[in-house]
Symmetry: C2
């Protein structure tokens, strides 16, 4: 048995969709979440800045002595996962890219896979590289969908307007006749209906939250590291209270209680000398 | 004569529209600009975080010994202008709210004035307060237009899609039958055409960039502080290179040369003990 918590972090509130899934899959595990709402978004920023922020986020969660840290953010997974594993040698990390790629390669029949994500994630080329490594025969189409994050945060997740945006962004996916689409950002599952419609009804959508939750369960079971304690609500830390209103938290967390905490950006800067 | 530069800062690239106007109005002044692209946007963040970042930005520009610092960011102007004046007693600050309010009150005939801005700007109530102070008889309508910033940064500034967004956000302005509208965010002038259409063709749009440039000229002339040196291109500092591609800079700066520089977020954190 292992009563240490599972840490999960993201650039903002989006990673709460991962918290929701992990909680459902591993109900007796304690979860400590960190969302860097003071500096969100990461996906429009440069690799150096993302790596700096990622190290501060990981240092903050490492302070809780976690059995596992889930990198819920696709941008951090793409740009800084290797660096975090190298810098924090005593911490076990799971990133969202590996499980998403494994699922996509297993799901595709035509070998044509699409990936949508932030500018930073797509231009890193990490998804493309990982897909080709998993199956050199697959053909990969990508698209940057910058407005999906503000749309999800604004709560505009359906309607003609959102459909038009999705239609515009996913045009290259229809042209490439993909049959499987990786949702490469924690916000995108909120726009699933519009994305599915724009991608073509038959396309399999890969939601990293589901995949990473399965991976976390495998990790806990393989290591015989299950918690012996009774279930407790997740503890959520944010670097800014803006955008963390109850309604927003509930939309991403999909019900259940939680305990909200704050952490100052100054503390983060001091937490890690990079 | 006074050969010290004029400092201008904003949360990102949006304030370059102010640089463009100040350069046109005061062509022989040296301009040092800072855009906090590593932490953009400010308008979705809480007052405490905005104040912290604003102090770091001001401390950075204070290091250039400027004759004047223009707070181009409406969110900072609304939440931190008083604090900056109190903390940096040797620096002269101009904020965008005063000149915009003066212009709006002079322009309105019906006394019905609209203000659009970020969530932080509008919920601060500073524009509403300043308008009422300038003329207690005016009636003020406000709207938060969160998607205008990502739309402008994505370069989606016209077309049916943008018109729909503008139409939705500006509905309360049409209902309030305003005749004057303050564009309370440096990004909004890029969407002027769609905003004008949605607000109703006869509405006067108040663009803070124009007003602040006039105010800067008055300041320089009143204090006999004009530069004696030949004109030089503005020097632009950013905390992240992301989003500062030549095409983006040119769109906001509207032509003319410039010198690009970088400043690390770590340096900013160290520059000011807050």
């Amino acid at each position: 048995m292992d009563d240490r918590p599972i840490g999960i972090f993201d650039s903002g509130v989006g990673g709460l969709t991962v918290v929701a899934r992990v909680r459902k899959t591993l109900p007796s595990e304690r979860i400590v979440y960190f969302g860097d709402t003071a500096r969100v978004p990461y996906g429009t920023k440069s690799p150096g800045v993302v790596r700096r922020y990622a190290q501060q986020d990981a240092a903050f969660l490492a302070g809780f002595n976690p059995k596992l840290v889930v990198i819920a953010c696709h941008t951090v997974s793409a740009l800084a996962a290797d660096l975090l594993r190298k810098k924090f040698t005593s911490v076990q990390f799971l990133d969202v890219i590996g499980p998403s790629v494994a699922r996509a390669v297993a799901a595709t029949r035509s070998g044509r896979i699409g990936v949508i994500g932030t500018a930073a994630t797509i231009s890193s080329g990490q998804y493309q590289k990982a897909l080709k490594k998993a199956d050199p025969a697959v053909r990969v189409a990508t698209a940057v969908c910058s407005l999906f994050v503000p749309l999800a945060e604004e709560g505009w997740v359906s309607g003609r307007f959102v459909e038009e945006v999705a239609d515009r962004y996913l045009r290259p996916m229809r042209a490439a006749r993909i049959d499987t689409l990786i949702l490469g950002c924690t916000h995108y599952p909120l726009l699933k209906r519009a994305i599915r419609r724009a991608a073509g009804g038959q396309v399999v959508l890969v939601d990293a939250a589901e995949e990473i939750a399965r991976e976390a369960r495998r990790f806990v079971q393989a290591g015989r590291m299950a918690s012996s304690r009774p279930a407790a609500p997740p503890v959520l830390y944010f670097s800014d209270c803006a955008g963390t209103r109850g309604a927003v938290i509930r939309r991403f967390l999909r019900g259940g209680g939680c305990r909200l905490r704050r952490v100052s950006p100054a503390f983060l800067e001091e937490a890690c000398d990079v």
